[in-house]
Symmetry: C2
Subunit: 193 residues, 2 copies
């Protein structure tokens, strides 16, 4: 049975299974056995490839973040002009992939993980920093670019949160609409206060 070069395949399967299981259970209280089972292997093998459960969580987090980053980069590449780039970031952030129930559930639990695991906190910091700098870049000429970007970043996270708790299916288009609604108003309005 044992074919060589299994490591990357097994790891990927475990990462996917981790995300699915976290989303299914709705918390980080998933056992390595559950994850391994879903990935079609024994828990011992999971421990063999990732040294620990925490390492598995971090790998899953890294994967989600990587996918998101790729999506944003792709959307940005196809947009020119600051305005179009802003909208591209929003659309990417609320794309169906990011709104898959398990992915959003994973994000939520990663936020919690970041409270206690420094590695997780660092990863989230990288994501937030990139998002912030992307947003600011689109708003650079304005004096209040930083404040607008911070608010918009928070709005994105908040809209995410709402979707997790909703009963029905997530509605990315609506989230984009709400965000654009505020952003447009803020961009047009005088820089208040």
């Amino acid at each position: 049975m044992p074919k060589l070069g299994m490591e990357p395949i097994r790891k990927q399967a475990l990462v996917n299974a981790t995300i699915v299981e976290i989303g299914r259970v709705g918390s980080l209280d998933v056992t390595v056995s559950q994850i391994a089972k879903r990935a079609g292997m024994s828990s011992a093998l999971a421990h063999h490839y990732f040294g620990s459960k925490e390492e598995m969580f971090l790998a899953a987090m890294r994967h989600v973040l990587t996918l998101y980053g790729a999506e944003v980069r792709g959307a940005l590449a196809a947009a020119d002009g600051p305005d179009a780039r802003l909208r591209a970031i929003l659309r990417a952030s609320f794309s169906p992939m990011n709104f898959r129930r398990d992915v959003v559930g994973a994000w939520l639990n990663f936020w919690v993980l970041a409270q206690s695991v420094p590695g997780a906190k660092r990863l989230l910091g990288v994501y937030q920093g990139r998002l912030r700098s992307n947003l600011r870049a689109c708003l650079r000429p304005r004096a209040d670019a930083a404040q607008i970007a911070d608010g918009l970043g928070a709005l994105i996270d908040g809209l995410y949160l709402r979707e997790v708790l909703k009963d029905g299916p997530a509605d990315g288009a609506r989230a984009v609409a709400v965000a654009l609604d505020y952003l447009d108003a803020r961009l047009r309005g005088a820089n208040a206060s």
Copy 2:
């Protein structure tokens, strides 16, 4: 030692200890023993008063929600006019009490809890419903009241989130400023798109 009428005192102590411990550990992975110890009693007594750990979590959540509700109600009572009432809700939401590190940590974990415990989900639903109806009431005359309220609610939650992850101390005043910044722009601007 045993004085009578201990029940409410013990329960309150446990609820407070639960919030503190969740905030300290940064997750729901707190043992009943830890909580009981901080509350100055044995874990057996904790189980005696609340039947289970889950019941303790729900009681703590109810308490946080009650405090928040009282704060909003108090702020609303002292404000007249829709505009002042909107600002009152914002100020109450970002009051120092709600930005205490452990309280915000508790909120974050309650969001996670709501994913798997129906009772928790119901409680959060009540909170969100009240917040939404309060916000809408302040915006009633407008045709787009619902959309503005939804965005503002999400913005509040998102700003919360940012504070949890920050390293330094939480800054409620800044959050209020960012929220007002967007809200003012949105209220003044044409109802876009």
